[in-house]
Amino acid sequence: MNFLNDHSFQIGEQHLRQGKPCQDYALSGTLSSNQEAFAIVSDGCSSGDKTDFGSRLVTIATLRALEEPRPQRLGVEIKAARDAYLESYRASLHLNYQDLLATSLFAITNGDGVLISITGDGVIALKYEHALVIEIYKWQNNTPYYPIYRVSQLDNSFVESHNNTLEPFTKKTFVMGSLDSVQRATTGYTVTEGMKGVEQLLGREHDEYGQLQTLALFSDGAEQVVNVPTETVVENLLAFKSFSGQYAVRRMNRFLQEARGTGRGPLDDIAYAVIHYES
């Protein structure tokens, strides 16, 4: 199996105007002598401290965790290793936990199956032969759970901040079929479920939609492009005309150029990482 990976991240309108750095980060590549491909996205919290470092460190910590040899790819083990790396980076760089308030989305695939994990918020897109499945994960009041909360033993405060709502974490699913039909569904999660994060272990072959061709992880910046619905943002960012070179960078640049022509472009930073299965 040959994987074609790429990733892109761009600063949003608000951070540009406020003189802040881009706090989203993304990475993609291959592991295990090209037998596996990975995609990682992290979104730093705007109201945190130096979360541009945070999103990069979460991404690098995730990559190091994925690089560790394991008999089986278990999300719980990968996340535990990620958090250990994160704490070690935090301590050695003398950062505080507010610097590391950043989400963690990752996917790893060997060509037959794929493990996808999301801690925090963002969007997962799965492009099959006959359908595009888009999952939008959101925490109420834009207060997502970050891996650093567990590392810094702040889980209890996080639970308290959401204790008035039964299901503060939601997943909205859109399935866009080949006949322009769109199915929608919403799933709710309790605060404890949301803090565990969502993990999916998928086979590449789907009974109804056919073979998975491309998968992509997005930061929640995909939900904040002015005048463009999230599903349209995702569809456009996956409308690759080729998978050569920096294909995701080129698609992102062109899409944002066009989006700025009709609105203000992305309000928030936006990042995505893509794995394409070469047929």
Partner: protein, 251 residues
Amino acid sequence: MNTMNDFQIGSGFQFSGATIDNLEASEYTLVTIALDETGSISGKEAEIEDMLKAAVGACFSSPYSNNLLIRVIRFGSQYNRQNGNGVNEIHGFKPLSEIDLNAYPALKGVGMTPLYDAVFSSVGAMNTYAESLVDLDFAVNGISFIITDGGENASTGAGVNDVRRELEKSVTGEIMESHLSILIGIDNGYDNTKQKLADFQRDAGMNQFIWAGEATKGKLAKLAEFVSQSISSTSQALGTGGPSQNISATI
């Protein structure tokens, strides 16, 4: 792996360009340098070769050197019998890192001046290649230099209207973000060359005409500097949606 692909422009002109699937950057400035190789440059060939090597060589130190694709052609009626209609491609659009300056051939000034063919090939190839890149979401702009010491008298493939059409297409913004076409005249000792070239620049719709004067070593060194600086300004302008700024109109 084949690193170059062949393309065809209308009227039987051909060119080559780097295989697009192998390009690693997301944006490129396309550069064409067209050199007069007619009888009137006879005796100055070595200086013109040095000028070409200096101009392209200087691009290696540009901060955007990884984002340049450079094509070099020469023109003269001696090439009329080849497919290129008076034009011979030294190399097609190529990443700078793949250009070997030492492999540039020696020029030999013979024959007459197919200027229309040269400009048509320069701009037509740029439009065609840019279109292929833009279709795949690359951001692209371009700059063309036509360096000649004589007016049109030998084109077989293109007329002035063909040239004008390609130039118009290149600046609509639909293909490239921007394209700058510069005609550079070198004094060949005949009284009316400067005027003939100025008329052609106006009739064809090229952006600039620059009279470089005599082909002395000093003037050609300045010309090389002008070419490399203009390339650098153009690549800096990529992404702004506009043409490059502050390109000096004198050499």
